[in-house]
Symmetry: C2
Subunit: 309 residues, 2 copies
């Protein structure tokens, strides 16, 4: 038995602050055409794929950033991507900034198939900070410009598999994968914008790529699912973003990896049935999980040293 889904990871190079949505969409459509030629049934685009990563800039009045948010999806600028994907018979994941009719701002990803939005995810783990930090070479103000996602981690059946979504920093948190795995996820998608240095504390820069892969490889193995991580990469307005877009199989091994910091499509044939073995043996949750000892994971937010420790 096999359920082969050919998956594309459509890494994007930088998007300049003044680059139009139309330009970004045109670049994505070009990658989509390549994906079609290479047999893909699913393509994953990055987080914030329609704009520059604007949380690196501070504005006291956050509404001054409204030009980076989408008020409807698809809108005129993005519709050509929906149409091209429908014509190519390719499902896709797209990250963008969402401004709701009632004024809420989310860092959002959607799963689109056959011209329709099949699923929506709003980033739960917002990294960074909410106020201007004079100690950083650039800001990481996601906690200023977005509210934490309010949808949890749903999963959706799409292209004969059970699919889930996260965004960037979510991939560092084992809870992200676990919630989806408890819903049977077989393939999880993450777009990301990750600077090549830790601006919060001194840390060797090579660890940025190491951690990027480590967390997705562990997430894949420990939850027996495919993980597709796709970067916006390269020097975006003076800030270097790591690439390293990859497709990870349920063994935790990377089976496709980007070579550049530019627009680049990586492709792998993913047999979704490979997710079964782990789910039925070492990670058979019903047989092995011991929830009577997990309570504080979902009841306690921060660290609490036990009495006497």
């Amino acid at each position: 038995m096999s359920r082969i889904l050919t998956v594309g990871g459509a890494q994007l190079g930088p998007i300049a602050p003044d680059e139009s949505r139309e330009s970004a969409v045109a670049r994505m459509i070009e990658l989509l055409h390549e994906a079609k030629a290479r047999g893909c049934g699913l393509v994953v685009f990055p987080e914030m794929a329609l704009s520059t990563f604007f949380p690196r800039y501070y504005e006291e009045d956050i509404s001054k950033m409204d030009r980076f948010y989408e008020r409807e999806m698809p809108n005129d600028a993005v519709r050509p991507l929906f149409e091209a994907a429908e014509k190519a018979d390719i499902a896709f994941y797209l990250g963008y900034c969402e401004l709701t009719p009632d004024g809420h701002r989310f860092n959002t990803a959607i799963l689109v198939d056959k011209g329709k939005i099949v699923g929506k995810y709003r980033k739960v783990h917002l990294p960074g900070h909410a106020e201007y930090d004079p100690n950083r070479p650039w800001q990481h103000l996601e906690k200023r410009y977005f509210e934490p996602g309010d949808l949890g981690w749903p999963v959706w059946r799409c292209r004969d598999g059970v699919m889930g979504m996260g965004l960037c920093n979510d991939r560092r948190w084992p809870e992200t994968y676990r919630v989806m795995a408890l819903k049977g996820v077989e393939l999880t998608m993450f777009g990301y914008n990750t600077p090549d240095r830790n601006t919060a504390a001194p840390e060797p820069n090579h660890l940025r790529m190491y951690h990027n892969h480590l967390v997705m490889q562990a997430g894949a193995y420990q939850n027996s699912c495919f993980v597709v991580g796709v970067a916006k990469a390269g020097i975006e307005d003076g800030c270097m973003l790591i690439g390293g877009s990859c497709i990870v199989q349920p063994s935790g091994e990377i089976i496709a990896l980007a070579s550049t910091l530019e627009d680049e499509l990586i492709v792998a044939n993913c047999d979704l049935d490979l997710a079964k073995m782990g789910k039925e043996t070492v990670f058979n949750f019903a047989k092995h999980r011991r929830i009577e000892h997990y309570g504080i994971i979902s009841s306690q937010t921060g660290v609490v040293l036990p009495e006497g420790v």
Copy 2:
């Protein structure tokens, strides 16, 4: 600032089914003397360090395996290890099989310092199966011979650090590390007995070592703590156990690694203050965790596909 604790991982080669506790203890004391000479303040021994890994054998009447369990700790056979460690001023972790006065059987680890048992842990995630499986080249009957641990994952202050313990299969489960990290753990210890092949399902054998390291490296990084993993290694009664004992720093990088499948001491200077950076920044739980979306992790044991998926 620094809080350097020199940590030893005391890997053991195989222990034959008829090898005495006294022999195993003598081998451990030899490693302890080397640890003293190399400046260690803490030494980690493997899981089931006093006996062969007997769950590879089936007995209908489990009491026929009682010879592999300890009824008190320390007992006469193990007391020399306690005394040698106290004399050397070394704290140690020791895995063994515990039979309680009221007849309960646990796969147990203890943390001992200054001649006293400081902490006890009973393995929560028992792998394998409870009944004879004719399809395996050897059995993995931990679910037959042990009850799941009933102590959760406590942490203890020891040698100026916050310490936690797990055993073998526990290291594959992100919940293990997370529960301890929510209690401020800075150094987590795992003894293990891991066959070099997956006897439950076909899987390339190289993945056994890869997964061993992957889960401990991810656990260290995602919880900003040191992880010390120590094997019983080599061909034990015809069953090859992987080695790969290692010390992982909070960056997720391995800083000491065993070279053999025999009795071998690995050593690293662990600055426990290195655990602080992650806990204060990217993995500042109080700032970033979103428990309102984690509920099913501790309320739902097995996979439940949502309606419509």
